[in-house]
Structure formats: C-alpha cells, structure tokens
C-alpha cells in the first residue's frame, strides 16, 4: 500500500531550527537530504499583515493544529491523563521554520555548570544536596567541547550582544553584531540592578541590531523594533529564523528538497539500523516510505520522543522501577516574577522579541546554595518585547477582574506597569516523564504522547527565592506598587508559561542512563540521530535554542563522521 520512494542519504523529520541546520550542513557536504515537514511552506512574504494580535498571538495562526495532534497530560501517576485540547502552557510549532519562526530570539548559551551539574553539585555540596528522587545527570559533553558549535550557531544567526556577563562561559569570538538599542526602560532595569550590586547585560538577541551576512551567504536585516515579534513572523527578515538562514543555505546547494504536508508516523528499522521513515501525505491521505541511510529526528522534543516510542526504539522509562531511559528527565521551567505599577506612562508597546537585559547573579551556581533548599537558579530579566492590549490587562490584585473598576484600572495600568521575570531552572524528578498514551490517538491513528509532570519541592523553593529578588528589583526600579507572583503550586497546562520543554531523549556518556550519545546518535541504532531540547538532562535558567543549535551542529559533524567510518561515534 505504502509507496516506496527513492532512497536519500539523509532524511530529517520536521524543518525547524534543528532540521534546517542538519540539512544545511549535510547538503553542503554533498549528501542528498530530504526534509519531511507536516506543515506548509511559508516565508517572509507571508508576514506582511502580521501586526495582528488576535490572529497570531491569540488564535495561534502560525502554530500547531491541535485538531490533528496533541499530547495528554496529568500531574501525577494517580491522575487520569487527558488531552491538552487547547494550546496554553507552551506553543508548539508547525510549518516551515517550526517554532523558530515565531520565537523571540533570546539566545543564551547554557552555563559550563549545566553540562556537569551532577559532578559540580556533589563536589561542592556533597552527595545529598538533592534527594535521590531527583535524577541529576551530567550531559556527557563539556561546555568547552561544545563551544565551537555555539560559536557556529551564533555566526549563522548573526547574534547581537555584548560580552560583559561575568557568569557565563568563555567565548572564543565576539558577538557577530553589536547589542540592540538600550531603551529608557532597559536603562531603568540596568540602573536598579547595578545599584543592588548585580551585573546586568544586554540579552543576546536574534533580532539583529544591524544588517548581517552570515558565513553561508544568507542575509538578515536590521530589526525595526516593531513590537510584533514574540508569536509573530518578521516581515523584515530581521529575526533570524530557519527560513531566512539555514533553509536557503541548504536549498542553494542543490542537494536539498523539502516535502511539505508529510506527517511522519513511524521510523522503520532492521536489526541495529533504521532504514527510513513512513509518512502520510496530509492532503491526500496516501502513505509513503522514505528510505534513507541516516534518519534524523528534528521534530521537537514531543514528536521526537513519540516517534521513538511508537517505533519501539529504545527502552521506555518506568517511574515505578526506575528502569529504561526513553521519556525520562522531562523538565519544564518555572517563571517567578514581579509586576510593578508606576505613575508615568511608558512606551511599552514598542519593542522587539529579544530586546532586554538580564542578570545571572542568581543563576547556575553563581551564588552559594549551602543554606538553600534548591540548586541552580534563574536568570532574571526585564524585556521590552512589545506589550499588546488583548493579552495585557494588568491590575493590582485588589481590583476586580471585570466591570467598571477593572476597565479603568486595566486601561490606566497598560502603559504604567512593567514586569521583571526569572526563567528558573528545573531539575529532573523520577515522577516526571513522557510515555505513550493508551487511550487517545492523533488524526493518523498513532497514540498521543503522554506527559506526567508536576513542580517539585526544589522548584517551589527556587521560585520563592527568585520571586523575592524580582520584587526587590522592581521596587528599586521605582514602582509605586509592586506585586510578586503567588507561591508555586501544581503545574497547570492552561496558562502560557514558556515553550521551553526539555528531556525525554537525553544525551550522555552511558547507554544505561541516556538515549543518545554526545553526537546525539541513538545508542541502539547507529544511523539514527535525535536532535532537540529533548537531549537536555535538566532545564537551565535560560531559553534553550542556542544550546539546541549547538548540539545540531555537532550532530551534523557526527553524521559526516558516521558516513566516513560507520559504527558508534562515542
């Protein structure tokens, strides 16, 4: 029934950042690469009418069609898993560019500490800092080993920034482009945090401060600070995305093509090798088999994990026995923060997705945790990304949420409130994991991915600690009234928090505790690579994509090595 296509050297499942990077690098090396993307083609010309909060930010025009596929969710093993019927907590990508089209572009490298978190924690705080319920692991690679790949990703996207942060890892080269404009609001945060003795720096931004041509010859324009960035595509081609960087670079070689409307449902295998993938044409319903020498899963953490599970590759993690690796170490992030209400009106509607400043004084292990009930921490940022009126109706907590008083206060405060927020690291816990659902299926008859997740004690302690810091900063910024977020309770899939999901297909040095090696080559299938934030063993206090991009570049190198030598690369 399924039609078998001609074999290619490399097939990627999904064409976002990871799929685009693998394609560009492998195609440049002369490999025939095919990208299979379940969504449609799109590009800068389709973002001409993008300044529409309702269509793009509220109704999620650019994002995944959940009527076809979603996940199921429960907080703990005792709860009945139910489908996430509407998008909320995180916004999944779809179509050319994936979530890289509508991301903000805040592009941080994870800290050297992150990659060796278990070793570092034990060295400094002993073996019992966290209970054995937390599945802390080193990543099987160091920051120094990954540095050249970070460098490469940053040069590809033309990252704008400044190297003034004393807490992050050593960089071998300068930022490709200078930092973005330091607006009056950013200066407010800068002054407040400096006065408190902290170390503010400009957020490394993929909204470029000036026009740039990357080493592949792709051109990225200068950001116009239009204020419609997060959740939107850039009509200027000024936000680095796969469509304006790696995808054209791959196409230029003549060795790459993309099949759209191709939803992959299975990875096919024989012995210790995979032979290709099976997909369904979402327009005709026809089935195809795409044979390939190398299969690369670049379909975001959810689908990467799901495809391995439905294809029965690797051993599913079981929280009751602790056995198995697939689905283990799923982590999210925690978002402590404070909102301040001011007297004067401010230009909050102007901005760019990654326009902001950050401090790392309470991130990683940059402060002493001996007396704290948690490890790691959070970056604390102020961003001016363009506040829009539907999504932003800030009122102090003693004001009702509808009616005359609400209307007045929400209008008054729209231009008179600011928020400072932390991106809190999240540590893996034995009860948080991904598996296959046994009740619900997607449009193609494949089981949905099931997520079991709740915040843990470590998260709650960290949340409280960082909330206090954000309140202090907001007060110092001059708010007449400051409110910190509520204490952390149970994870709730409804309100948006962040699209920083990690884990499930972890990397490491040991097949007993990880799914892929440090080239992201599957331990059981030597010609299968799995790329994405699913490889993270825990989640850090930053956005993930620079680290994902670096890992993708390393994978591309691994694929090249594999083609030369075969066998396991590590």
């Amino acid at each position: 029934m399924a039609k078998t296509l001609d074999k290619v050297d490399v097939v990627t499942v999904g064409v976002g950042w990871t799929g685009g990077i693998i394609a560009a690098e492998c195609a440049k090396q002369g490999m025939k690469v095919r990208g299979l993307e379940r969504g449609k083609e799109r590009g800068t010309k389709n973002y001409a009418m993008i300044h529409d909060e309702y269509r793009y930010a509220i109704r999620y025009e650019l994002m995944q069609d959940l009527s076809r596929e979603t996940i199921t969710f429960r907080n703990n093993l005792k709860m009945r898993p139910l489908p996430m019927r509407q998008m909320g907590s995180f916004l999944l990508g779809e179509n050319l560019g994936g979530a890289g089209t509508h991301w903000n572009g805040m592009t941080y490298r994870f800290l050297p500490y992150d990659f060796q978190i278990k070793t570092e924690t034990e060295k400094k705080y002993g073996k019992n800092k966290l209970s054995s319920d937390y599945l802390l692991q080193d990543w099987g690679i160091t920051y120094d080993e990954l540095e050249p790949y970070f460098d490469k990703f940053e040069k590809t996207i033309g990252l704008s920034g400044e190297d003034t942060n004393p807490f992050w890892g050593k960089r071998t080269s300068d930022f490709p482009t200078p930092p973005m404009k330091k607006t009056p609001l950013l200066k407010k945060f800068e002054k407040a945090t400096k006065d408190l003795g902290y170390h503010p720096y400009m957020v490394p931004s993929a909204n470029l401060s000036e026009p740039y041509e990357n080493p592949d010859g792709s051109k990225i324009n200068a950001c116009q600070y239009c204020g419609f960035c997060e959740r939107f595509g850039c009509e200027y081609g000024a936000k680095s995305s796969p469509e304006v960087t790696v995808v054209p670079a791959a196409l230029k070689t003549g060795n790459y093509d993309i099949t759209f409307h191709a939803n992959v449902v299975e990875v096919l295998k024989k012995g210790n090798k995979v032979t290709g993938v099976r997909y369904i044409d979402t327009q005709t319903g026809e089935e195809f088999i795409q044979p390939a020498d190398v299969v690369v899963l670049t379909s975001y953490i959810m689908n990467n994990a799901k495809l391995l599970m439905v294809s029965d590759i690797g051993e599913q993690y079981d929280p009751n026995t602790g056995k198995g690796t697939l689905g283990k170490n799923y982590c999210y992030q925690i978002e402590p923060g404070a909102t301040g209400f001011f007297d004067d009106q401010m230009n909050v509607f102007m901005g760019a997705g990654a326009l902001g400043m950050t401090i790392d004084d309470f991130n990683g292990d940059s402060f002493d945790h001996s007396n704290e009930g948690f490890i790691h921490g959070a970056s604390i940022s102020f961003t001016q990304s363009g506040t829009r009126p539907i999504l932003s109706n800030p009122v102090p907590s003693d004001v009702p949420v509808w009616g005359a008083e609400f209307k007045k206060a929400s209008i008054e405060n729209y231009t008179r409130s600011l928020s400072v927020f932390g991106q809190g690291a999240s540590m893996p816990h034995k009860n948080n994991y991904l598996a296959l659902d046994s009740n619900y299926k997607d449009r193609y008859g494949v089981p949905l991915l099931q997520m079991t997740y709740n915040f843990t004690e470590q998260d709650r302690n960290l949340h409280k600690f960082i909330t206090d810091k954000t309140v202090k900063i907001m007060k110092e910024m001059g708010a007449k009234k400051t409110e910190g977020g509520n204490p952390l309770t149970d994870y709730d899939i409804v309100p948006y928090q962040s699209t920083h999901n990690t884990g499930g297909t972890t990397m490491g040095a040991d097949p007993n505790t990880s799914v892929v090696n440090n080239y992201l080559q599957h331990w059981d299938m030597e010609n299968l690579f799995v790329v994405g934030a699913g490889n993270f063993n825990h989640n850090s206090g930053y956005n993930p994509t620079a680290t994902v991009g670096a890992l993708a570049y390393r994978t591309a190198e691994g694929i090249q090595k594999y083609r030369e030598k075969g066998g396991m690369l590590a």
């Binding site: 009418m49 509220i58 109704r59 950001c223 997060e230 990654a354 001016q384 932003s392 729209y414 309100p495």
Partner: protein, 251 residues
C-alpha cells in the same frame, strides 16, 4: 473527579503556577494572561454603571452571522457591557461593537474549535488539565446565554435585558462563581470565555468588527499597527501616536 458539575476549571483562573500579577513578558515566557490576573478573581464586578449605552437601533443595522434572533444577541450585548462598561474614558463593549465581534467569531473557526483536539472520550478533569468539554464554544455560548435569560426570569421575573445593572451583575457573578448548572461545561468556564471574548473584541484590530474606530486602542494608548518604532524607541517621552489598523495596508 467524577463530579460532573466541576467542569474544566474549578479554581480561580490562573491562580496557579505563581505567575506574577498581570505579567506580560517576553522571551516566550509567560504571556497569555487574557484571563484573570494571576492573583485570581475576587468575584467582584466593580462599581455601578451610570447609564445604559446600548444603541439598539444601530445594533440591528448590522447583520448577524451566528445568533438567530435579536433576543440572544441583546443578552450577549448587555452581558459584555457589564464586563466592559462605557465610562468617562470611552465606549464600552457595545459601543465598540464587541457583540458583533463575538457573533462573527462564533460563526467561524473559533466557534467550532477548528484547531482544537475535540476527539473523545471526554472526562471531567482536574483544573490543571484544562478544557475537557465535548461542546464547542458556539454551543457553550448558546447555552450560557439562554441560561442568563432563564436566571433573570426565575429571580426577577424579567428578561435579562430588562434588569438593572446590579441585577445583571448578580447573575454574571453566579456564573463566574460556578453557581449555575450548565450541561457539559461549568458556568465558570463559560464566564471565562465570555470575559475573554469581550476583551478580545475590545482590543482586536477593527478588521474583526470590534474595537470600533479603534476606540479601544485609543483609550489604552496602543497605536495598533505601526511599521516600526526604531526612530522613537530611545526617547524618554511617552509617544502619543494616532493608531492604525492593518486594513490601512490594503489600500
């Protein structure tokens, strides 16, 4: 978990996750707080409304795509006006065309939950699991609006649209507090949808038939669609900018 009334969202919306009050921040973190502020609703509806701003005549000069009779539409209109009333700052929901916005949306993908996972089986979940109803938004609105009128008749022997503002608020508050029996969904969830849709209609681009004359934006000081702020973003001064709709790009 097996109480059918509990519906999808028992707790105060967004009274969760420790999200900062009203926070809307970048980096792809937080955001989406169309719902209540994160401290949770306190159930109050706010002060008294001074006058009934409904211009019923004008309302009926425009067509309806979803509602089948003016009565339903008028109940919706009055309810949205209580949520977002006219005041000295400017028009309320009716003056902004919010009821037409909602009508149009209910007739389209929004009303039919076209981009949402609507396959069964359906179970009542925990609040943290979100929307679990087999009903579409269109069905929820139709049922909820009929119930508002029923409640008005039961309590005050009047139609909803003939009630005093305070009486409407009493009924709306009971919806919000989940005190009204609805089939297949909680009244609290319906109220949340209604409130959210009202704000969407007040502030969405006027191409969607709400935010008439961009008055919603003017009240808030939001300039709508502008090509760029690069030349003013470093200014200390608050910029008062005449708002523009994306429709201005099309001609």
């Amino acid at each position: 978990m097996d109480n059918p009334k509990k519906g999808t969202s028992r707790r105060d919306f967004l009274k969760t996750s420790g999200i900062a009050a009203g926070a809307l921040v970048g980096g792809g973190v937080l955001g989406g707080l169309v719902g209540y502020n994160a401290k949770g609703g306190n159930g109050k509806s706010g002060g008294e409304q001074t006058k009934d701003p409904a211009n019923k005549h004008e309302m009926q000069t425009r067509g309806l795509m979803f509602f089948q009779n003016p009565e339903e539409f008028n109940v919706l209109s009055q309810a949205t006006e209580r949520i977002f009333p006219e005041d000295d700052l400017g028009p309320g929901a009716i003056g902004l065309g919010v009821p037409y916005f909602i009508d149009n949306q209910l007739a389209g993908n929004y009303g039919s939950n076209a981009k949402e996972y609507m396959q069964g089986p359906f179970f009542n979940g925990e609040a943290t699991q979100g929307y679990q109803s087999r009903l579409t938004r269109a069905e929820i609105f139709r049922q909820g609006i009929a119930l508002m009128d029923e409640e008005a008749n039961k309590r005050f022997k009047k139609n909803f649209t003939d009630l005093e503002g305070g009486q409407m608020d009493e009924i709306l508050t009971d919806f919000q507090k989940n005190q009204i029996d609805m089939k297949g969904v909680s009244s609290e969830f319906f109220f949340k949808l209604l409130r959210q849709a009202t704000l969407e209609g007040a502030y969405a681009d006027p191409i969607y038939n709400g935010n008439a004359n961009m008055e919603g934006w003017k009240m808030k000081g939001f300039p709508g669609h502008q090509m760029a702020y690069i030349n003013v973003i470093e200014d200390e001064k608050f910029q008062v900018i005449e708002p523009k709709s994306i429709s201005s790009m099309q001609h």
